[in-house]
């Protein structure tokens, strides 16, 4: 039984097809990896699913319910959390306060929200930074902040946009371990990744995009051998 089922999703900006006829599904408890070169439409896909951009056509079903065109806050309340590629922490608030705001989604009481936020902050290994302002945290720490904040809303599906991108190489193993830990905690995950090794390692399925089109969707080992993926993406990847 798939938790998210996307069919024929399309969006054009002006004459440019940012997403065209994209279909895929994510099963309960799985990790879906999304790959593709810059401008392939990966972040747009997340924006379409979470309601930040209104799709032109197609269908999006989450747990059997049609969520096409719903506003972002509705989508979030239905159980889809997300992080942003361009990080959006609440800069003038502390880490704890950031995560508490997520926790308020299901926990109106301030003390309970605080306790829950602390547990999640501990889960992402930032407990000693809880009273730091978000603007004082490093990029890697802010990514964890965004993950913690999204997790505090108790999502059934979490969309992660380049969680390992742009961070210090040293912190990557920790972030990967964290994604695993979340999967073990029962969260279904879709993650956009540039690091091909990571994606092959953690994903149950992979969706490959290029120029707004789906070029492949399947198990990691099939994707690895898919000629179109190799042409469009793997072949052009620099060692950097």
């Amino acid at each position: 039984m798939s938790l998210l089922k996307v069919e024929g999703l399309s969006k054009a900006f002006g004459g440019i097809h940012a997403n065209e006829d994209i279909s895929f599904e994510i099963g309960q408890g799985e990790i879906l990896g999304i790959i593709g070169p810059n401008g392939a439409g990966k972040s747009t896909l997340f924006d379409l699913i979470t309601g930040y951009t209104r799709p032109d056509r197609g269908s999006i079903r989450f747990d059997g319910q049609n969520i096409f065109g719903l506003k972002p806050d509705r989508v979030s309340r239905l159980g889809i959390g997300r992080t942003f590629q361009k990080l959006k922490p609440f800069t003038d608030l502390t880490l704890l306060e950031n995560v508490m705001i997520g926790a308020f989604a299901h926990e109106p009481d301030i003390r309970h929200a605080r306790d829950k936020a602390l547990e999640i902050i501990d889960f992402v290994d930032l407990i000693e930074k809880r009273h730091h302002f978000a603007r004082e945290l490093s990029t890697g720490q802010r990514k964890r902040l965004e993950l913690a904040r999204a997790m505090a809303t108790e999502p059934r599906l979490l969309l992660m946009d380049e969680v390992t991108g742009g961070v210090d190489q040293k912190t990557i193993p920790g972030l990967v371990a964290l994604i695993r830990k979340m999967k073990d905690a029962g969260v279904t995950i879709a993650t956009i990744e540039h690091n091909i090794n990571i994606i092959m390692e953690i994903s149950d399925h992979i969706l490959a995009l290029d120029q707004g089109q789906r070029i492949a969707f399947g198990k990691p080992e099939d994707i690895q051998n898919d000629q179109r993926v190799i042409d469009a993406y793997l072949g052009t990847v620099d060692v950097a």
Partner: protein, 337 residues
């Protein structure tokens, strides 16, 4: 790690700074006893203005500091509050207390009506709309015969001081306590608001609306809530001030200067903090009243030149306001509101 979590869970949700709490209690007691020291009419008047502007600036602080939306015509809620209670009193003999409550209700409704179209969009639309409506309100009241048009309304004097008519002829002390009561209640409520779920969500909306949405927060709804609360706080000050000076006219009650002052005082003291507005008021009201005495109230606009200049300087050099000059360890606790 686990021990760190346990320790964190044992921390109180809010730090209480004993010294600050003690100082606040002391200040409250002093303010309660102040009229008994027989300070004279001028000082009572000064304190009344400070209480009034402290509430009005806090009102602006709720919409601007807490939810991040700039209202440039906030004085209109003051005017509408003033006119509501005064007109009801004059035309229907209704006690100003009821008029005051109705004024709050009307202002809340108006805020929601303005907020629904304007607060869905980026802050510039809202700022421009409030500027337009603020000036438009004055134009309407200047020409509205039912409420006395440009010459306004004079409240007839009651024979004796009366709590139900809210008129006190022999002393300013009763007015002092009324304004003081509203001041205390407003600050307690806003303090509580800042520590509630709504307060947290408003700050989220202010810091990053998109991120707030991703956490299930209906951004427009929360901005509208903040605007309505803000309007409801402002309205009774108009009603009370009308009873205090016993005149309502468009040039006084819808004066653009009111909107400018509440903005300036809050930004000067420290926007988004509970004590910022009070600090701004405590500095500017005495300066403005003394300069009125020594320079004469000839409307040479000298005070406005000064206000405009301070506003620009604060924006350039201290956008966090004068409160940011306090030592950091004091702010660490204050910051959480």
């Amino acid at each position: 790690m686990a021990s760190m979590l346990k320790q964190a869970l044992r921390e109180p949700v809010w730090h209480v700074n004993g010294r600050i709490a003690f100082a606040l209690v002391g200040l409250t007691v002093f303010l309660l006893l102040f009229p008994l020291l027989d300070p004279g009419a001028f000082y009572l008047h000064l304190m009344i203005l400070i209480f009034m502007y402290a509430v009005m600036s806090q009102s602006w602080n709720v919409i601007a500091g807490l939810s991040g939306q700039i209202s440039l015509g906030h004085g209109m809620f003051f005017g509408i509050g003033a006119y509501t209670s005064s007109v009801l009193y004059l035309q229907y003999g209704l006690t100003p207390w009821i008029g005051l409550l109705l004024g709050m209700l009307i202002c809340g409704v108006i805020a929601v009506m303005i907020g629904i179209p304007m607060l869905r969009l980026s802050g510039h639309y809202f700022a421009i709309a409030t500027l337009l409506i603020g000036i438009g309100c004055q134009v309407v009241f200047q020409r509205w015969e039912f409420v006395g048009a440009a010459s306004g309304l004079w409240m007839p004097l009651t024979e004796e001081s009366s709590w139900s008519a809210l008129q006190f002829h022999h002393s300013k002390a009763p007015y002092y306590y009324v304004f003081f009561g509203f001041f205390i209640v407003t600050y307690l409520l806003v303090w509580r608001l800042g520590r509630s779920k709504i307060g947290f969500r408003l700050r989220a909306v202010r810091d990053d609306a998109q991120a707030a949405q991703s956490l299930g927060i209906n951004v427009a709804k929360y901005k509208i809530i903040a605007y309505a609360i803000s309007a409801i706080i402002m309205a009774p000050m108009g009603s009370l001030f009308a009873q205090y000076i016993l005149i309502v006219d468009p040039d006084r009650m819808f004066n653009i200067e009111i909107s400018i002052l509440v903005l300036l005082m809050t930004v000067l003291g420290g926007i988004g903090t509970i004590w910022g507005p009070l600090i701004g008021v405590a500095i500017l009201i005495p300066i403005s009243e003394y300069s009125r005495i020594y320079l004469g109230g000839t409307g040479g606009a000298v005070d406005l030149i000064f206000y405009g200049l301070i506003l620009m300087l604060i924006c350039i050099f201290r956008p966090a306001g004068l409160i940011s000059l306090f030592p950091k360890h004091v702010l660490e606790r204050e910051r959480q509101r």
